[in-house]
Structure formats: C-alpha cells, structure tokens
C-alpha cells in the first residue's frame, strides 16, 4: 500500500496537504484534513450512549444555547430598554453575560484553542488560530471592561463567532463527504466487507482476505469484490468501472464476473478465480488513491497562497486596528481589527481545486478511465490538438479481406491455395487471407517450399502447382498475365482504396483480393466529436502512405503523416505543439511508449495492465476510445469549476477584507459570511456530480459519420 493512503482525510477522502488533525476515534488513529472533517467524522461514526459524537453535538448545542442567551441579553442592553438610571442592572447583566460567555468559551473554544496551540508549536498558523485569536481577544477585552466598569462588552461577538465557526466547518465537512460518497467505495476497495459462503454458513470478511476458490455471496445492489465465475444464480451486472460501458450485462451459471462491477437484479454466488488483492478493481483503487495524492498545478499554487494567507491576515488585522485607533475610539478600532481577522477564510482557497479535481477523477474512474494525477485533468482541459496512432488505436489491429474478385475461378479454390501459401508468412496481409479462408470453413493445407520475397509476396507449392500471392507489380514482373475480365472487375470494385493482392498460378493471375484494415466503428465518431470541441486531429503512423491516406480519409481527421519512425512522430508532436498548443497522443500504450511520453498527455487505449507500468498519463478502458470526447468535456468542466471556485474564494476574501478594513463590516456579520463562504465552494463543486454520463459512441454512429466512405473530404497531407 502506498503512503498515499495515509495522506487522505478519513472523512472526506480528500488529500491532506500541510497540516492535518490527528484524532483517536473508536480506538483507531485517524487523520483528518481539517477541524470540520474531524467533527463530522465523529458525528457520523459515533455509536452508543457515551459516544464522542453525541458529546460533540451536545457541546455544540450547549454552546449555541449559551451564545443565544448572551445575544438575547445583549439585545436588551443594545435596545436601550434599560434607561441610564438602571446602572446597577446593567452591571448585573454584564456579569451574567461574562459568566455565560466563560462557559461558552470553555465548551466550544477549548478544542479550537488546543488545535491552534498544537499548530503554533509546529510553527504553523491555521484558520483555527484566527478564530481562537479573535474570540479570545473579544472575550478578554470584554472581561476587562466588566472589571473596569466599562459599558461596552462584546461577549456576544466572541461566542457567536465560536458557534458559527464550528457549525460552518461541520456543515462543510458533511457536504464534502457527501460529494465523495460515490468515490469512497472505490478508495476502500480492499477493505470492503464480503459475505463468504462456507457450505451453507455465511461469514463476513474483508475483500483482501478472499483467496481463489472461495465462494462469495453477492446480493442485489452490492458490488462484486472478486473476479470469478458464477456458480449459482442469475442477474444483470454493471461493468462500467472496468469496461467503460454502461450497459447491463447478463450473468448466469458459468458467466465470468469482474471485481468492481455492481450486481443489480438477483443474488449471485461467485467462485473466486483469484485473490481479492489481485483484481483490476483493486489496482484501479490503488491508482485512484495515488492520483488523488498528486494535485494539479493550480491546486499547488492555491495551497502555497493559502499557507501564506493566515499570517498575512493577522498582520492586516493588526495594522487596521492600529490605523483606525487614530481616528476613532479604541473599542471600535479593535472591532474593525476583529472583523478583518474573522472574515478571512483560507479554507475556501485550499478547497477550491481539491474537491473539483477529486470529483473529476472519481467520475472518470467510474467509467474505467484512469488518470495519473490531478495535473492530467488540467492538461486534458487545455489540450488543443489530438494525434492518433493508427494500428491498434483507431483500427482494430488486424487486416481483413474485404473482397475476392476472380476471373471466373471459384472463390474457395482461390482462397484454398492462397491461404495454403500465406500460412507460411507472418505478415498481417497473409494472416488476413488465412483468416478469410478459415472463416469460410475452407481447409487450406500448408503449401510446400514456401518462400517469401520481402516487400513483394510469397511463392509456394500447393497441389503441385506453383502459386504466387503478392503485390500486382510483382506478379506482373514475374510474367503473369492478367485476364481482361479480371482487370475490368478489379477496376470496378477496388476503388475503396484497400490494399490489392494478386493470386495467380500457372502464369495467369486468377484473382484480386482486397485487404483492408477494419476501422474501430467508434473512431470516426470520436474524431468528429473532438473536432466539434475545437480540437485539431491528426493521424500519425509508421505505416505506408497509401494505407495512412485511406484510414485518414475514413476517419475524417484534419491531417495525417505516414512512414514515421518514433523519433519522427515526436518531432511531429513538437510541430503540433508549436502550432496549436498542448497536444495529446492516443496510442495503444505498449508499442508507443516513447511517443506517448513525448506528448503533453499520453493516452493509452485498452491496455489491461496497471497504470504504474505505463508511460501513459491517461488510460481508457479496452473498448473505450469512444469515451475520449466525454473525458475532454468533463476535464473542461472540472477546470471551469476550479476557476469559478478560486474566483469565488479569492473574490470573497478580497471583497470581505476590503469591507472589513474600511470599517464597513461588523464582526458578527463577518463571522456569518466566513462560515458560509466555503460552503458555496462545496456546493459549486457538487454540481460536477450532475455532469451528464457519456453517450456510447457506437450509439451515436450513423451512416453518415461512421464506417467507410465518410464523405467527399480528402484529408490533406501535413506539410513536412
């Protein structure tokens, strides 16, 4: 387990940066990212009569009760109901206020003072420090005033401050945990509770303790925790988190189920085929945890600013108080200083990026798309051009025979001989011919004395006849004659641009076989979707010009380059970057390692191995190319959310501080504002949960945009 797990808050699962809170809950040492999460965790997980959670809420309730009474009594004083002749009553009320305030400071203030003290010992200032200082100062000043017989006391400010702060943090932490509730199961994958069936006896254990051969009972609505085979029951499962597809998959006796998928309809008994720790789901969980611990650039900057924030605010408050003290009574000047201290909310700044990025990573992971870190989400949003590798990425990776045109010879005979010869070759074109024969059920015995001529074709002995299978130029050069009828048919049929192979024996070309690369059906839709997002699309391949041109034409990309070595591909990426901006490269991740590394975002499709071994920054699931436009849209939404959060956090602080420093803000109002401001950041980030799911690209494929013949556009070749 990486240490990343230790730096995630136990309540909201956001990464803890800087200084966290440690607390012992139910016998376990837990770390929290802030006071609010500490509170909220205890509320959520407290059990029993004497639980700490209940005591915490009792403290909040009692503190609120005391503060409210202080407010009510203060109202009596402020409203001037008691005339000037009632000086003794006023003093008595002051003393009552003092007593109530002392109780409140003890009840609500002590945990805050402890946290502030601990932070100060480590040389850090946090929001708790600000509040402790503010409330403490107001209380101390008012206590002195009572003893000296003054007439202005501010116990109401001090106590309300504590109540509002505590309440605000608690609510905000609850909101954050709610936002993370969909992500939480993913992060706890190995600690999920699993029901084991031991014969007829049910037993609970953790997912990581399951070994191969154990039987697991999965009830409807539960998540399947292990890879395995169904031995009993039938149901529908949702495998989106592994395959990216949102469609329910039927499972019955003998079906294979994947760890991480959700069981929908009926109970299933699954025999585990591997350990609970060795599933792709567990690896996804680990990689998401790792991703969460790597914040993006924007977030890192925000954190640095937040760190310098508190000392700056302290200074500002002191300066404001000192300056105003020259223009008005000390009382009022101190109040202004207090307002400055209180209105500042560093929590919003720190939270702005973290929550949105985490939600984005979680949404992606739910569809099986894994990013290396928050940085990648930011980059995906900034990408201006996308380059595709050809073989295996936009094509299915295998060539297939698209047609067999003969001069009258029976197709089966042609294929039988051709396949017999081609079986001796490893070339993709050869395999296509062999597959075509196999598909038609034709038995093609291996030709004897097969000899390949590199770049031309292959010659072999089938049924005692010398058969040639290869490029038209080669057969012509060998003196093979092409019958006129074949020539005519070939001209009619082979205009689609596929590769042409001639098959001949006994001096005559008998057939023309067209072989094409099958395009992934969703590829043209993806390219179209990316273009609609304003991205420049390009095909980069090491393959020949002709096949590259054909595929590019069908894809509808803006440009293509062929015959590229990996170094040349990197140079192309560099040119794209110079011309458009950040570039993403989509490849299969196995063969394109260095090229993916050369792009700003390297995207691998379909690799089933875990992210750590890849050089890819972003992994799409097996048939998940169609998810690419959606991931770009989601990343842009995350970036928008981060920017609006930051704008709000900074704007709020700037305006609030300006108002406070200029004396226009009462401390109580400032406290209320501060309590609510980071709530808004949470609520804004929660909107990402409602970002629409991707529509499956294959569903969108229409006859106009998908498949072959994608319109009269000819993809221009990129200038060198």
């Amino acid at each position: 387990m990486s240490s990343a797990a230790d730096t995630a808050c136990s309540h909201c699962h956001l990464p803890i940066r800087g200084f966290g809170h440690d607390r012992r809950v139910r016998g376990e040492e837990r770390r929290f990212c802030c006071y609010g999460c500490c509170l909220a965790f205890q509320v959520a997980h407290g059990e029993g009569e004497e639980s700490e959670a209940a005591w915490l809420l009792v403290r909040l309730g009692v503190g609120a009760f005391l503060a409210m009474n202080i407010m009510l009594f203060s109202l009596l004083l402020y409203s001037g109901t008691l005339g000037d002749g009632d000086a003794e009553i006023i003093v008595m009320v002051h003393v009552i206020l003092w007593a109530l305030a002392t109780a409140c400071m003890l009840v609500l203030g002590s945990p805050l003072f402890r946290e502030a003290g601990r932070a100060a010992l480590r040389g850090r200032l946090t929001a708790a420090s600000l509040i402790s200082l503010g409330a403490g100062a107001a209380y101390a000043y008012s206590a002195l005033a009572v003893m000296a017989g003054g007439d202005e006391v501010y116990f109401d400010t001090a106590t309300m401050l504590l109540v509002l702060y505590t309440l605000g943090r608690l609510l905000e932490a609850s909101g954050r945990a709610r936002a993370m509730r969909d992500l939480a199961p993913m992060l706890e994958a190995e600690r999920e509770r699993v029901t084991l069936l031991d014969g007829a006896v049910e037993r609970q254990c953790l997912a990581r303790d399951v070994a191969a051969g154990m039987h697991v009972l999965v009830r409807p609505g539960e998540r399947i925790a292990v890879d395995g085979v169904v031995v009993d029951g039938s149901s529908w499962t949702d495998e989106a988190v592994i395959t990216g597809e949102n469609r329910p998959v039927a499972k019955a006796h003998g079906s294979i189920v994947l760890a991480g998928s959700i069981n929908h309809a009926g109970s299933l008994v699954v025999r585990a085929t591997g350990a609970g720790t060795a599933t792709r789901w567990a690896r996804i969980s680990a990689s998401v945890r790792a991703a969460l611990s790597r914040p993006g650039e924007v977030q890192r900057l925000a954190d640095r600013i937040a760190g310098a924030f508190v000392p700056a605010v302290l200074l500002l408050a002191a300066l404001a108080a000192v300056w105003w003290a020259q223009h008005m009574p000390l009382d009022d000047a101190l109040l202004i200083g207090l307002a400055v201290l209180v209105v500042a909310c560093p929590c919003g700044v720190g939270l702005a990026g973290a929550l949105a990025t985490t939600l984005g990573i979680g949404r992606l992971a739910r569809r099986g798309c894994l990013v290396r870190g928050g940085q990648i989400v930011e980059l995906l949003a900034a990408v201006r051009a996308v380059a595709f590798d050809k073989t295996g990425t936009v094509t299915l990776g295998t060539a297939t025979v698209t047609s067999v045109i003969t001069d009258g010879t029976v197709t089966e005979e042609v294929l039988r001989r051709a396949a017999g010869v081609e079986r001796a070759s490893e070339h993709p074109l050869a395999r296509a011919v062999v597959n075509a024969a196999a598909e038609r059920g034709i038995d093609a015995p291996l030709a004897r004395q097969a000899a390949a001529v590199p770049g031309r074709g292959i010659r072999g002995d089938a049924d005692g006849l010398a058969v040639l299978v290869g490029s038209p130029e080669w057969l012509a050069a060998e003196g093979y004659r092409m019958p006129a009828v074949l020539g005519r048919r070939q001209r009619e049929a082979a205009s689609g641009g596929d590769t042409l192979i001639h098959v001949g024996w006994a001096g005559i070309v008998r057939a023309a076989v067209t072989v094409g690369e099958a395009l992934r059906p969703e590829a043209p839709v993806v390219v179209d979707g990316l273009r609609r997002l304003g991205l420049h699309t390009v095909l980069l391949t090491g393959d020949r010009q002709e096949s590259a041109a054909r595929i590019a034409h069908r894809l509808g990309v803006d440009g293509w380059e062929a015959s590229l070595s990996p170094e040349a591909k990197n140079q192309s990426l560099g040119r794209l970057r110079a011309r458009f901006g950040p570039v993403a490269m989509v490849g299969d991740g196995i063969n394109d390692g260095p090229v993916l590394a050369g792009a700003d975002v390297g995207i691998a499709v379909g690799t089933a191995t875990d992210l750590a071994r890849e050089t890819a920054d972003f992994v799409l699931p097996e048939s998940g190319l169609g998810l690419l436009p959606w991931t770009i849209r989601l990343s842009r939404a995350v970036r928008r959310t981060i920017l609006t959060n930051l704008a709000w956090a900074f704007g709020y602080n700037a305006i609030g501080l300006a108002l406070a420093v200029s004396g226009h803000l009462q401390p109580l109002f400032a406290a209320a504002l501060m309590a609510g401001s980071s709530l808004l950041v949470v609520l804004n980030s929660l909107r990402l949960e409602r970002f629409p799911e991707p529509e499956h690209a294959a569903d969108l494929a229409t006859t106009e945009t998908a498949g072959y013949g994608a319109g009269p556009r000819t993809a221009p070749r990129l200038a060198g």
């Binding site: 909040l60 009510l72 409203s79």
Partner: protein, 235 residues
C-alpha cells in the same frame, strides 16, 4: 399589543401539532429516567433550550427586518418602513394560516434545508441517547431550529414587529404557549401522543392554530395599511 395574547393562544393551539412533530423526542427524553423529579428537570431543560432558540430566531429576524428599513443605525425604523414591514409580514402570515387551514397548498420542502436537515436530524438522534443534564438542553436548543411551518409563521410575525426585542418577545410568548403541551406529553408519555394523533383533536387544534395565525395576519396587515400606531413600545 393585541397580538401577544393571540400569540400565546396560537402556541397553545398549535402545540398539538408540535406534539406530533417533536413530541416523540420529548417522550424519549422523559422516558427511562429514575424518578419524576429528574424527569421534570430534563423536560424543563429541553423546553428551556427550545424557548431560547425561538426567542433567538425572533430577535434575529426582528433585528434584520428592522435593520433593513432604518434611516440611521440605532434609530427605530421609520413609520413608512414599519408599515411596509407590517404589510409583508401580515401577508406571509395569511398565506401560512391558509395553508394550515388547508385552503391553499403549501410547498413540501422548506427552502434550502434539504441539505442541512439530514445532518441535523442525525445529530439530534445521537444526542437523545446521551445521559446527563447537558443533553436535553443541547437537544432543545438544536430542536428549535428544525424546519416547522408554525415557527415560520410566528417568525414572520416577528419580522413585522419592528425591532429585535419585539421580535424576541413575539417568539417567546408563542413558545410559552407551546410549553404546557410539550411538558405534558413528555411527562405522560407516548400513549397520550398516540391518542392525540389518532383522534380528531389533533386536526382541530391545527385548524385552530391556522385560524389564529390568519387572524394575526389580518391584524398585522391592517396595522400596516391603516396606520394604527406610529411608534411601537415594548410594554
């Protein structure tokens, strides 16, 4: 000044509605404690907490509403501003009263509380089981913030009262009206509550509360439209 007795009556009448909503809590607070006196103490603390919250709400609402309409801070609101406040408050009360009477439909969810309410209710549940005198006090204080249309109605009245203190008194008097019923239910227990909820007594009392609120609204509205007094005194 007419309003205060009416408020008390509204509290009395509406308190059976309160019994339905919050009586359960009072019952738990009152049950399985040793002896009648500790039980009474717990009930008193609970209601003390609740009343404090009500008074607080009334004070804040009154203060904010008055503060919106002042020429200078510290001065009471101008006569014209008071009338506007009274009109607004009266209309709100009339609407809520009609909703109680069932003559118009109300909105199902009070605004903005869908988010905080689950947290609050879970919090309350936890406090219920904690022993000691602090718990009922805390519970009462937090319970008072639970979304309740009756409280909203009286808060609207507090809004129109013209000052923080008047608003506070408004809610306090109403709270005192609910005091007897809640104390009774907490002491006597769940059987009485079940009987109340089952019978027509509960329904009638809600209607009575609605009628009282309607009346309050009309009076407040009239005060705004036809200037009855320009300067509101506390006593």
């Amino acid at each position: 000044m007419i309003e205060y007795p009416l408020l008390f009556l509204a509290g009395l009448a509406g308190s059976w509605h309160c019994v339905g909503m919050c009586g359960g809590f009072a019952c738990v607070l009152g049950s399985d404690r040793t002896g009648a006196v500790p039980m009474l103490v717990r009930q008193l603390l609970y209601n003390l907490g609740r009343l404090t919250t009500y008074a607080f709400i009334g004070g804040v609402v009154g203060h904010l509403a008055a503060g919106l309409c002042v020429a200078e801070p510290g001065m009471p609101p101008t006569a014209a501003a008071q009338r506007v406040l009274a009109v607004a408050s009266g209309l709100l009360l009339i609407v809520i009263g009609l909703q109680f009477l069932g003559w118009i439909r109300g909105s199902a969810r009070p605004l903005g509380l869908t988010y905080a309410a689950p947290t609050l209710t879970r919090a309350l549940r936890d406090i219920l089981r904690t022993p000691g005198p602090a718990a009922p006090l805390a519970f009462g204080a937090l319970n008072g913030f639970l979304p309740c249309p009756l409280v909203y109605a009286i808060a609207a009245q507090a809004m129109g009262s013209g000052s923080a203190v008047a608003g506070m008194l408004t809610m306090l008097v109403f709270g005192l009206g609910t005091f007897p019923a809640m104390l009774l239910v907490g002491g006597v227990g769940s059987r009485l509550r079940a009987a109340i909820n089952a019978g027509s007594w509960g329904r009638h009392s809600v209607e009575a509360a609605g009628a009282l609120i309607l009346l309050l609204g009309l009076i407040t509205l009239t005060r705004g439209v036809v200037l009855l007094d320009t300067h509101r005194h506390l006593l």
